[in-house]
C-alpha cells in the first residue's frame, strides 16, 4: 500500500526506509531519492524558499503518478513525502522511495517519480533572495526529463 504524504513537517528518511522493509524478506532492493533546498539559485544566494501547493489536487496528482509507476514496474511498495511551507537551505523537501524484487525496477521508478513530481505535481516555489522574493520558473530541462518517461 503506497504511502503519500504532503506535509509541512520534516521527515526522517531512515525511519521511512526502515518502515518500507520492516518484517519483509522478499524485498530485493530499496531505492530512494531525497531532495534538499540548495543555498544558491544560479548566481543568487537563497535565504529561504516557500513552497505553495494546491491541497487536494496535490495528493491526487501524486496518487496518479504512483499508480503509473506501479503499472510500469513490479513494485512492492512506494513512499512519496513532499513538504510545503517555508524551508531553508539544507532542509529536506521531498522523499521518493520504492521497493522491488529487482534493482532496475526500484531505481528507474524513483527516477520516474521525481521527474514527474518536478513538472506534474501542483507545487510552486518562491525564493527569498537578496534582491527580493522570486518565483522559480519552470525549467525546460525538467520538462524534457519528464517527457523522457512518456510512453511513446
Amino acid at each position: 500500500m503506497p504511502t503519500i504524504r504532503v506535509q509541512q513537517e520534516d521527515f526522517d528518511p531512515g525511519a521511512e526506509l526502515a518502515r518500507l522493509t520492516a518484517g519483509k524478506t522478499d524485498v530485493g532492493g530499496l531505492a530512494c531519492f531525497v531532495g534538499l533546498v540548495r543555498d544558491m539559485a544560479g548566481p543568487e544566494r537563497i535565504a529561504a524558499m516557500t513552497l505553495e501547493h494546491y491541497p487536494g489536487m496535490t495528493e491526487r496528482a501524486i496518487e496518479k503518478m504512483v499508480a503509473e509507476a506501479c503499472a510500469r514496474w513490479p513494485l512492492d511498495d512506494v513512499t512519496v513525502i513532499h513538504r510545503y511551507g517555508r524551508l531553508e537551505p539544507g532542509d529536506r523537501i521531498v522523499l521518493v522511495a520504492t521497493t522491488s524484487s529487482h534493482r532496475d525496477a526500484c531505481l528507474d521508478s524513483v527516477h520516474f517519480l521525481i521527474d514527474w513530481l518536478k513538472t506534474k505535481a501542483p507545487f510552486w516555489k518562491l525564493e527569498d533572495t537578496a534582491s527580493g522574493a522570486k518565483w522559480v520558473a519552470a525549467r525546460e530541462e525538467d520538462d524534457k526529463a519528464a517527457e523522457r518517461w512518456t510512453a511513446g
Binding site: G56, M57, A61, I93, I114, K118, K120, P122, W124, W135
Partner: protein, 83 residues
C-alpha cells in the same frame, strides 16, 4: 463556479480564490480567461501571457480547450515546480 489561483497568478490577481457566476456564453477555459480579463485590469495583467498559464478543472490538469460548467472548480496557475 469556484476559482482558485496559485503562484504569481494569485499574487498578480491579489486573491487566492473567488466564487463567480459563470456567464452562459462561457463554455471553455479559454473563454473563461477572456471573460476574466474583461472584468478588471488586474486580470488583464495576471492572465496576459496565456501560453504560460496552466489550468486544472476539478483538480485534474487539463488545457485551455477544456469545457467548464457552473459548479466546477477551476484553478489557474504558472507551470509547476515541484520536487
Amino acid at each position: 463556479m469556484q476559482l482558485l489561483y496559485f503562484g504569481w497568478v494569485r499574487q498578480r490577481i491579489g486573491m487566492d480564490k473567488e466564487t463567480i457566476a459563470l456567464p452562459a456564453s462561457v463554455t471553455d477555459v479559454r473563454g473563461l480567461i477572456g471573460w476574466l480579463k474583461s472584468r478588471d485590469p488586474r486580470y488583464q495583467t495576471a492572465l496576459k501571457d496565456i501560453a504560460s498559464l496552466r489550468v486544472a478543472v476539478n483538480q485534474e490538469l487539463t488545457d485551455l480547450d477544456a469545457r467548464v460548467r457552473d459548479g466546477d472548480e477551476v484553478a489557474l496557475f504558472p507551470p509547476m515546480t515541484g520536487g
